[in-house]
């Protein structure tokens, strides 16, 4: 496989992986919890968050050259839509809005399956060699440490920042 721009490829693979594991998986779990509790308003909020996180992750695929590593997500002007084409954004936000029409457990379950499929498709778009670890499982924390140990040496040698959460310290 030829890599035309190693720095950008490494950034996309590393940040995309961490973003998916740390954000998307947690947001989808929130949606699942809301579904099981029959809280449809909370489901709508979690679905919106899941989809916006998925778009941010999709921005880290190699095909979206406009994406730059965000300095700080909490700044309020971090643009998770950057580099993604208008139709893909419209489809994604349209899926988020469908959650507002959920009215009973049947429609909630059917909606959740679509949301899950969108999340699975997002992970596949990263083009990784193996599935990402699931953070909220017994082995999840080890999985994320493995992920850091895989990507950090390459990122460091390219003088790029780690995608590993800084508050967790060195691994």
């Amino acid at each position: 496989m030829r890599i035309p721009d190693l720095r950008r490829w490494a950034t996309c693979q590393s940040f995309g992986s961490f973003y998916f594991v740390l954000r998307v998986q947690g947001d989808l779990d929130d949606a699942r919890g809301a579904l099981q509790a029959g809280e449809y308003g909370t489901l709508a909020i979690a679905a919106r968050k899941t989809i916006v996180s998925c778009l941010s992750t999709r921005g880290f695929t190699f095909e979206t050259p406009e994406r730059v590593i965000p300095s700080v997500r909490s700044s309020g002007n971090f643009d998770g839509f950057q580099g993604i084409d208008e139709q893909s954004i419209a489809d994604a936000l349209g899926l988020a809005n469908l959650a507002l029409d959920v009215s009973d457990q049947g429609s909630a379950e059917s909606y959740f399956r679509r949301l899950e499929a969108y999340v699975d498709e997002t992970e596949k778009m990263l083009g990784l060699e193996e599935p990402l670890p699931r953070l909220r499982t017994r082995s999840g924390n080890f999985g994320i440490v493995r992920l850091a140990r895989t990507w950090d040496p390459l990122m460091s040698s390219l003088q790029l920042p780690t995608a590993f959460p800084s508050e967790w310290g060195d691994v």
Partner: protein, 344 residues
């Protein structure tokens, strides 16, 4: 104001643990004094707040009598129940409480990103802690808990969430032309934060934007629920945004009174990390990560990055000039709030 009592929070915890076949005291089995003497163990998070659902984790905060600790979350399992355990050094918790006790955000005449993040982290730490159920407490730990009683904390949280709501609203306004879809998201976030503020003022100060519907139900706030459903129906294309902006301005006008905001607030835009400024011939180039870049218009200059001076400052009703908005929309500037009525 109705603050849910410790007994009610303990009842939520027991109800959550019951299907897992776990008794409250069993949660202490996975807590060990490896970092020093344990002063306090609190069960906290969404479960004692009454929002727990079948996929919720349970959070334990263990306060330890030691100077400093790395913030590494540890995980244990009791059957299918996941327990996240966080050990926290007493001085760190006391420093967080001191910061929140002394003033509401923003509390300084110059507040950049670092100060903002520090305050928000301290507020989150203290509100989560105060909303917990003590499982084990020593005398020194009990004193920490005593500081968190009374109405001051809900009021402090409400004021901070409201200031953050206004910050999001201004970011939305400033992005309307350049990033309409992002502006729409920020308008929605502004309302969610206002609901957080409203709920805190009523006594529910546990931070959790994802629980805002349940908070509104708790207070039988049907008008708030209608507003939130409307705000969540976000435009999906830039061309559809304009009517949404009008509706959101009107909704936010009805819930955020300028009188409720403290006087002396000022917006300050500062550089985000990894922004660089270079003189190239007669012109100035501003870049992020040496990747994305903007030429400034001829004759325009900005303060050097290392000066830490704001790129722009103004009142809530002011708007930054066009070249500053370009940098803001491209993720190069932090939008901060500062309080000019206090000394430095």
């Amino acid at each position: 104001m109705r603050r849910i009592s410790e007994e009610e929070r303990a009842a939520y915890l027991r109800k959550f643990l019951e299907p897992h076949g776990v008794a409250t005291h069993q949660l202490l089995e996975d807590v060990e004094p490896v970092y020093g003497p344990i002063l306090l163990v609190m069960a906290t998070g969404s479960v004692p707040a009454g929002f727990g659902n079948p996929t919720s984790d349970l959070d334990l905060i263990v306060v330890v009598d030691c100077k400093k600790l790395a913030n590494v979350p540890l995980v244990s399992y009791k059957g299918a129940l996941r327990v996240d355990v966080e050990y926290r050094a007493l001085p760190r918790l006391e420093a967080d409480i001191e910061r929140i006790t002394s003033s509401a955000w923003p509390d300084r005449p110059s507040m950049g990103l670092t100060e903002h993040l520090r305050y928000q982290r301290a507020l989150r730490s203290v509100t989560r802690f105060a909303w917990g159920v003590p499982l084990q407490r020593e005398k020194k730990g009990y004193k920490v808990l005593e500081r968190l009683s009374g109405d001051w904390l809900p009021q402090r949280a409400a004021a901070s969430y409201l200031a953050e709501a206004q910050r999001m609203r201004l970011i939305a306004r400033w992005l309307v032309e350049r990033k309409p879809l992002l502006a729409a998201q920020r308008y929605c976030d502004a309302l969610i934060l206002e609901i957080e503020s409203r709920s805190a003022a009523r006594g529910m100060f546990f931070e959790g934007p994802k629980w805002v519907f349940q908070k509104l139900k708790m207070f039988q706030d049907t008008a708030g629920e209608s507003m939130l459903w409307e705000a969540l129906r976000l435009p999906v294309r830039a061309s559809e945004c304009s009517p949404y902006f009008g509706r959101m301005e009107s909704i936010l006008d009805s819930v955020i009174s300028s009188a409720a905001l403290p006087s002396g607030l000022e917006m300050q835009l500062t550089y985000l990390p990894q922004v660089q400024i270079r003189q190239v011939g007669k012109r100035v180039l501003v870049s992020l990560w040496d990747s994305r870049a903007h030429w400034l218009p001829e004759g325009v200059s900005l303060p050097p990055v290392e000066s830490e001076l704001p790129v722009w400052r103004g009142k809530m009703s002011d708007a930054p000039p066009s070249h500053v908005l370009d940098l803001l929309a491209d993720g190069m500037l932090y939008v901060g709030l500062a309080q000019t009525d206090v000394g430095s």
